[in-house]
């Protein structure tokens, strides 16, 4: 059985049977590719509440409405900030291409300036809205950008998981490696450790809640903790709706300025 077929069978097993795999462990690359290819519906809408906690325990909350759609080889996302008051109405749109090497395209709308502005997407390592997530952490990093190795299997919170180490091919990438725990049953990453460029443990991502919505496994609560700075960010999705038939032209200048 070639690798592609194995991945196909692997995904089919999960979707159709919902049972753990019974054949030999796939490679690290196959696992990460299967996670990347995990069906998530053609579109999604919902509300994201982001809670930032600083090292002294102080919290800040960002409330965001967002829509996401997959149109051929392009993933489009549009986010509109509802709170806090000083950023209300600020909107951000990202078009991400599956084509290898093609940069994302991004636009921002600032209500005070009443203008949509195309912005650079090169700051993938920048932190998103002061959180512990970088733009790249939030994106769908293509598995081909890393070398993957299956280290072991172990159980996390009752979930039987593969543990995969991923080392970026680009030595200048902001992380020297990541280690991901992937649920064998749901084919969803449930935990990830990030290591900085010096190889020191930097951040822990924990998937706190995965829900089956419209037949798809959707991550609805995650926590990113910076173990070096002792800060954390919790992202919680609610009102998640899948495959409601969002039109592609909704991801436009008009929606950026009008909001969701």
């Amino acid at each position: 059985m070639n690798r592609l077929k194995r991945i196909g069978v692997l995904i089919s097993s999960i979707l159709l049977l919902g049972t753990p795999l019974v054949f030999a462990d796939p490679s690290g690359a196959e696992i990460m590719q299967a996670v990347y290819d995990r069906p998530q519906g053609q579109d999604m809408s919902g509300t994201l509440v982001m809670t930032l906690t600083d090292a002294r325990g102080g919290t800040r909350v960002r409330d965001i409405k967002q829509i996401l759609g997959r149109f051929g080889s392009v993933d489009k996302k549009l986010m509109v900030f509802q709170s806090p008051a000083d950023v209300r109405g600020t909107a951000f749109m990202n078009w991400s291409y599956k084509e290898e090497g093609k940069s994302d395209e991004q636009w921002i709308y600032l209500p005070a300036l009443k203008r949509v502005k195309r912005i650079s997407s090169e700051g993938r390592g920048d932190y998103f809205m002061g959180s512990d997530f970088t733009y790249d952490d939030l994106g769908n990093r293509h598995p081909s950008e890393d070398n993957h190795r299956l280290i072991r299997s172990e159980t996390v919170n009752g979930e039987d998981c593969w543990v995969v180490e991923s080392v970026p091919k680009d030595p200048k990438y902001m992380y020297s490696k990541t280690i991901t725990w992937v649920s064998k049953q749901k084919m969803v990453g449930v935990r990830r450790e990030y290591y900085d460029q010096k190889g020191k443990h930097l951040k822990d991502l924990t998937i706190e809640r995965v829900e089956q919505i419209s037949g798809f496994w959707i991550i609805t609560k995650t926590e990113m903790k910076n173990v070096q700075k002792n800060t954390k960010t919790v992202m919680e999705f609610s009102n998640v709706r899948i495959d409601t038939g969002l039109r592609e032209d909704l991801f436009s200048e008009r929606t950026l300025t009008r909001g969701l």
């Binding site: 930032l52 600083d54 800040r60 909350v61 392009v74 709170s83 806090p84 008051a85 000083d86 209300r88 078009w95 940069s103 395209e105 636009w107 005070a112 300036l113 009443k114 203008r115 949509v116 502005k117 195309r118 912005i119 650079s120 997407s121 090169e122 700051g123 390592g125 920048d126 932190y127 809205m129 002061g130 959180s131 800060t231 032209d249 436009s252 200048e253 008009r254 009008r258 969701l260």
Partner: protein, 420 residues
């Protein structure tokens, strides 16, 4: 004129009322309903560095009220100011009604309409006029004035067509002649300035604009055209006295607004790590000060071009942008008092620190003809959500030119803003 104005006001009001109850196909279950009120309160104090005089002392309450009912939105933006201890009359910065359909939007009322892709320049951004009573010192949000207009946007995929009718003329506010921001005048004697003549109210004096826009993969572009009034008056000499050997000893000028047409474009594109931008416009007529001996009216009318090219770049959390702007007077005459080419650079750098709670910004204009500049550094600290404490400076370099003429007006300001 007043009767016509009232009639047009009534027609627009009737139009707004007629649109309000229409049903829509684009409405969804998620459409918010009801009134929302938000805004901010701000206090701001600024001092001139050369003498310690306050040049800003104001408290502001800016309310943004929105009411949504089905396909219609009503928006009002009243602003209350207290300046130098005096409460100013309330200002309605914007008040308009929106009607949304699946394929189009219609907005009627007093509104800010912002076009173009340049930062800090007004090449195709010609609909909303400006309040230059404090030159370019206030935030751009406050420099722009709303105009009473009807705006219609038609959408097709990623393209849109925008049509704007501005029935009422709204002038740009120039600095008071006694203000520290009054620009230098290029006449050899201090002229007597008559009150400006404003355009009569009629259909022929309306402004009309159209813009086609496309936002898509790799690039965004817009093409625009307009028939408009020059919002800043040109001075027409109506009397002068020459007394040999002293020369010009008396001058009376009449500020006049004039109509012209403009066609232009704006574009931006992603090129690797860069965002490239360009914007340009051809102005059918502009009035330029000229030698009084050759041009008795004090000005000459010439076509002109203004354009910019620029690039933005982001690295390690720092966002940088640079623009080169050139004004070109076509069919140039040596009797004109302005240079044929006028070149300006803008530079912007910004960075956030401490999980976005501190933002440092630096914006500057650099005049390449007179070697002058305006530098605007600003630091904003957000100790809690919605609360901003800020401080900044205005530094004018050079002795002459658009910016250097204000070299005595260097200032420092600080303030606090609470959004709700």
């Amino acid at each position: 004129m007043k009767t016509k104005a009232r009639l047009l006001h009534r027609l627009l009001t009737l139009g707004v009322l007629a649109l309000a109850p229409l049903r829509i196909s684009a409405q969804t279950a998620d459409t918010p309903k009801g009134v929302t009120v938000n805004g901010y309160g701000r206090t701001k104090v600024g001092v001139l560095l050369n003498n310690g005089d306050y040049f800003i002392s104001e408290n502001t309450l800016n309310l943004r009220m929105n009411y949504t009912a089905g396909p219609t939105d009503f928006y009002a933006n009243p602003v209350l100011y207290e300046q130098n201890g005096v409460v100013q009359p309330p200002v309605l910065r914007e008040i308009y009604l929106d009607y949304h359909e699946e394929l189009f939007d219609l907005r009627v009322g007093k509104q800010q309409i912002i076009w173009g892709k340049g930062d800090g320049v007004f090449i195709t951004d010609l609909i909303s006029t400006k309040d230059l009573s404090q030159f370019l010192v206030p935030d751009f949000e406050e420099i722009r004035r709303a105009v009473t207009a009807v705006k219609f946007d038609l959408y097709q995929g990623y393209s849109s067509l925008e049509l704007v009718w501005v029935p009422w003329f709204t002038p740009t506010i120039s600095p008071d002649p006694s203000s520290i921001w009054a620009p230098s005048i290029s006449f050899s004697v201090k002229p007597t300035i008559n009150p400006p003549t404003t355009p009569k109210f009629n259909l022929g004096n309306s402004e009309y604009f159209a813009k086609y826009s496309y936002l898509g993969e790799s690039f965004d572009v817009s093409l625009m055209g307009g028939w408009l009034w020059n919002d800043t008056p040109a001075f027409t000499v109506i009397s002068k006295t020459f007394s040999p050997p002293a020369g010009l000893t008396e001058l009376t000028v009449q500020p006049e607004y004039y109509q012209t047409y403009v066609v232009g474009y704006a574009a931006s594109a992603t090129a690797g790590p860069l965002i490239l931008r360009s914007e340009g416009a051809y102005y059918g007529v502009k009035r330029y000060h000229a030698d009084l001996m050759l041009f008795p009216t004090g000005y000459a009318e010439k076509p002109a071009i203004q354009y910019l090219v620029g690039a933005d770049y982001s690295i390690a959390g720092i966002t940088m942008g640079m623009q080169f702007i050139q004004n070109v007077i076509l069919k140039y005459d040596s009797a004109l008092l302005e240079d044929r080419f006028k070149n300006t650079l803008t530079l912007v750098v910004s960075r956030t620190f401490f999980r976005d709670t501190v933002k440092a910004e630096f914006f500057s204009y650099v005049g390449l003809n007179d070697y002058d500049a305006l530098i605007k550094p600003k630091i904003t600290w957000t100790p809690a959500d919605g609360l901003e404490l800020f401080t900044g400076m205005y530094i004018f370099l050079g002795d002459s030119g658009d910016f250097g003429q204000y070299h005595d007006n260097n200032g420092l300001y600080l303030g606090a803003k609470l959004s709700f």
